[in-house]
């Protein structure tokens, strides 16, 4: 001890402050954090500010006059005679988005669990290959994939032609089912991958132990396997539901613009309708609802003691 305290201090840093080997310096994180802060924070700030401004009488953009009218307009309709009434149009659009996203989440979840479990039980070489195949769609632009989807499900597409041989009418394109199909197609990998990540870590000896204790297959899945992959399931739900809620490409290209999701309405207000403030208000509402969903998910996973971090 005496020798240590008597030893001259080398450099200005004390030993305890020096980074331990294997510890990343926080400095490395500064640049990406600054980049993300600008790229996310500034647009978000603009949207929030715009949502409280007036629409100019002519052209696009905003008039720098404070108003809460945009938010009122989300729910309340001003009639020509000056009276007001509840406006359910935007609530309906929100409900459409919510229900499509919910269906997409449920369908991808039901499809992904068996797929993820199956991949997780293959040998290491096959697993790598299968995971690569699941990520294959990411190699192609979502726009091109959705376009391809449109060709496939078109009335005169391969499915339509095949069913035509049996005189079965096939007309799905430009309808809500086509939109949902497109959403499921695009988001399926985002559900499979996190569930697979959990399933891969699953110790299959636990399943053996459950069988040994008298459990049948369904009980083993329900009481042993599903709880073990729950963190992956929660991540998957978040990764599918949240972006699905804000997606507009599918309803635009496959739904034919007839079935608007909330993002289509937002895009329309920034485009043809030229009402940036109202579009901003709707965007803020969507962000709030998404945030609420994230908090609910996190609340559930924390109560369960799962290691899922979303915020």
């Amino acid at each position: 001890m005496t020798a240590a305290t008597a030893a001259p201090k080398s450099g200005s840093k004390s030993k305890s402050k020096r980074a331990r080997p294997g510890q990343a310096s926080p400095k490395l994180a500064y640049l990406p954090i600054i980049f993300l802060a600008f790229a996310i924070g500034i647009p978000l700030l603009i949207i929030v500010v715009y949502s409280f401004l007036e629409k100019p009488s002519q052209g696009t953009g905003v008039k720098w006059v404070f108003t809460t009218e945009n938010y009122q307009a989300l729910f309340i309709q001003q009639k020509l005679d000056g009276t007001t009434a509840l406006d359910t149009r935007y609530l309906k659009v929100l409900w459409t988005s919510f229900s499509y996203s919910l269906i997409t989440t449920i369908v991808t979840l039901v499809l992904s669990i068996p797929v993820a479990m199956w991949i997780a039980t293959r040998d290491a070489r096959k697993r790598t290959l299968l995971v690569a195949l699941v990520t294959l769609p990411f190699w192609i632009s979502i726009l091109i994939r959705t376009y391809g989807m449109r060709q496939i499900i078109a009335d005169e597409g391969p499915i339509g032609k095949f069913l035509g041989l049996f005189n079965i009418e096939w007309s799905i394109l430009y309808s809500p089912p086509a939109t949902i199909l497109g959403l499921i197609y695009v988001f399926l990998p985002f559900m499979i991958l996190p569930i697979y990540a959990s399933a891969e870590r699953f110790d299959f000896r636990l399943a053996e132990a459950a069988y040994d204790l008298g459990a049948k297959k369904l009980t083993v899945v329900r009481r042993i396997v599903l709880p073990a992959i729950r963190p992956g399931v929660i991540s998957g739900i978040a990764l599918v539901f949240i972006p699905a809620l804000g997606s507009f490409l599918q309803s635009d290209m496959l739904g034919g613009g007839k079935t608007n999701m909330v993002a289509n309405v937002i895009a329309n207000n920034f485009g043809q309708a030229r009402n940036w403030p109202f579009g901003s208000a709707l965007a803020v509402l969507l962000i709030m609802l998404t945030l609420l969903f994230v908090l609910v998910i996190q609340g559930i996973s924390q109560r369960r003691g799962d290691k899922v971090e979303l915020v």
Binding site: R205, L213, A215
Partner: protein
Amino acid sequence: MSEKYLEIRNIVKVYPTPEGGEVRALDDVSLDIAAGEFFILLGPSGCGKTTLLRSIAGLEYPDSGEIILLGDRIDDKPPYERPVNTVFQSYALFPHMTVGENIAFGLEMEKIEKDEVAKRVVEALEQVKLSGYENRLPSQLSGGQQQRVALARALAKKPKVLLLDEPLSALDLKLRRGMQVELKRLQRETGITFVFVTHDQEEAMSMGDRIAVFSQGKIVQLDSPVNVYRRPINAYVADFIGETNLIEGTIVAGGIELPGGNLLPISQLADDSFIPESGQVTVAIRPEDLVLASDGLISGTVRDVIFTGDSVRVHVTVGDIEVIASLASYGTSIPAQGSQVALNPEHRAARTVAS
């Protein structure tokens, strides 16, 4: 022994190897296990002992052969229809369930009433001396405690046969010794038939009523611990169980000629040693059966002297081989390194073994 409890009949299990060949994990294995017996399957890793245990549990299906428990064929039944339970090497406790829930799981599968389940959970924890641990998670327990929970979980089911797959291998030596005594006591008190897999011969001898020594998918010797140790059937068993000097010798007039020109008279060998008319034989002598003697039959040069506390191990070079003698560390004059010594096999414990 006359009553047939668990019968293993001609079990064969063949695995393909990655190279395209095949391994006979179990090669026509037959044995009978009596009710209330502590039966040991002993052998090095890959000898088939675990495959046999898993076949009894229903976690593997043998290619051919029969497994009969109390007159019922169980080898084609799924694990949940077999009245046997397993304590796994990895413990395999369900990490998301508490200790109590882990133990209750198997009982719930039997549709036992809630009150009865709770009672049996408490009972099982008492048996393994973990009362009051119901609400802990497995991750909050030490390895030894997890091991006890795994044991309690299987015992709570009151199985006809309890299968234990190297359950003590992850514990340190002291804990392992303690658990060996406790397992033996638990087995006696519950009267449940234990089938215990291990590669540790000391563990096998300290607990087993009978030991089946496996090698390459076959049972080499099935006997009591004393007989397996004292009367090994061949050099493999002699070498695997405990420590043995295996010395190659040649039959000559009046005895066996050992390396270094030493002659071991037939009269020094165990009564039931098989002595061929002529040719090569292998003589097995335990280190503790060798004593220093002025008129010793086996003479050589001391190469190493190792003090281990309870004994002194003397490595003696005899001709072109090395013989190890284990001497009591008290009351013996310890020879110096490099000195000439003579060793005598005592109690006629030396024997010839098939190689």
